[in-house]
Symmetry: C2
Subunit: 227 residues, 2 copies
Amino acid sequence: MDFKDSIRYIPLFKGLPDRQIEELSRIAIRYSFLKDRIIFSEGDEADGFYVLISGRVKIYKLSKEGKEQILHIVEAQEPFGEVPAFAGKRFPAHAEAIEDSITLFFPRDAIVQLIKNDPSLALNMLALLSLRLRQFTVLVEDLSLKEVPQRLAAYILLIGEREKTDEIELNINKKQLASLLGTIPETMSRILGKMVSKGLIDVQGRRIKLIDKKALEELAYGAKLDI
Amino acid sequence: MDFKDSIRYIPLFKGLPDRQIEELSRIAIRYSFLKDRIIFSEGDEADGFYVLISGRVKIYKLSKEGKEQILHIVEAQEPFGEVPAFAGKRFPAHAEAIEDSITLFFPRDAIVQLIKNDPSLALNMLALLSLRLRQFTVLVEDLSLKEVPQRLAAYILLIGEREKTDEIELNINKKQLASLLGTIPETMSRILGKMVSKGLIDVQGRRIKLIDKKALEELAYGAKLDI
DNA sequence: CGTTCTGTTGAATACCTTCAATTCGCGTGG
DNA sequence: CCACGCGAATTGAAGGTATTCAACAGAACG
């Protein structure tokens, strides 16, 4: 099969010469996953990494009691599962399709070979891993140094920025939002409730309207929410 | 100045041809930091990264109330501050010498040039960043999904493994251990106390003797500590 | 139209932190 | 060499934030 078009526009492969794109399309393997399908589990041996072509994937850890912490929500065009391609040989977390998803799989050896041939792929990959590290420092900071209302306010504002709107639509359900913010649905629900009664936001299902942005910012980056 | 010997044995630079080592020693700049000196702060602009030659450095985040979360303790021969060399341009966290330290600083442009010339440096750097990502997934898991006694037990066992001894000597003080484990000295102290009274360990200052390893493992990876 | 999963609410509880008061340990200077 | 002083470490009491458990409401799905 020929995936050249899917591959050409993946940011990770930006700047690669046509020859390399052809080579990539030759070695890529297409895998599809229905919603709720496990793509890999923590500890599984890995011999390559994935790029998400369409759909959405969550990367997460599980506690022995079954509580879940989402590390990252993978969006289309993003690679995932790349850690064991370069260090260790097992996936450090679980991956599950949260929508019907199409991925391309790239075997490690082929990628390493390509990196040896083309430094721009190496630099793209370094940029990607560095960005992930940066995101993880924020996650650690949130989990360790901030309380749930702060995290939630920051998240809402972030989405608002990203979508350039004051009326955001969550692209994950509240259970998963809770897991992403390191808490549980009950807590999530209570805090959303408080924010509504304080007049900071308005909530209709997955739709959140930002009403008092100033107060949200104050909460996210400034003082505590006193209710 | 000539740092060739310091550089040759840095794992990050393993496998590089002599020519590259020479080049590295030409561009490296030596910086020394006394204990407690800030090396860089979160948000500072970065135009290169460091390798620690001797001493010890902590990488950490600060909350607005002043609480500290240590992300990583850098040991000799390890690079640090490498994220903004490849993505973004500012340091995502603070770095401070916790012992008198000697570092080499490598300007970003020079390193990028070297990577373009030599894929083995690229692969070493990718391995390093991947390893850090792996470590961060564990930190996130600990902070979000485990309680302090579990984290502490796991940490003690880890050091015991690493040093291959049942009588470990902490190389950081308990305040910093608390910060590394995402808690505060008081909590740390109480839990160590409970572990002692339960006969799991014995504590003499910075020296911890592992007495009941089985129970420690049970605590770290199995059931709860009921006291 | 019932079943199942998501989301909400209340009460009780657990864990950790905060604050305050000592105590300990160690380096420095008299 | 001892005493002092200061930060590190410990301990107790009180309080706060988030979780647990349970019950129920609501939405989605076949």
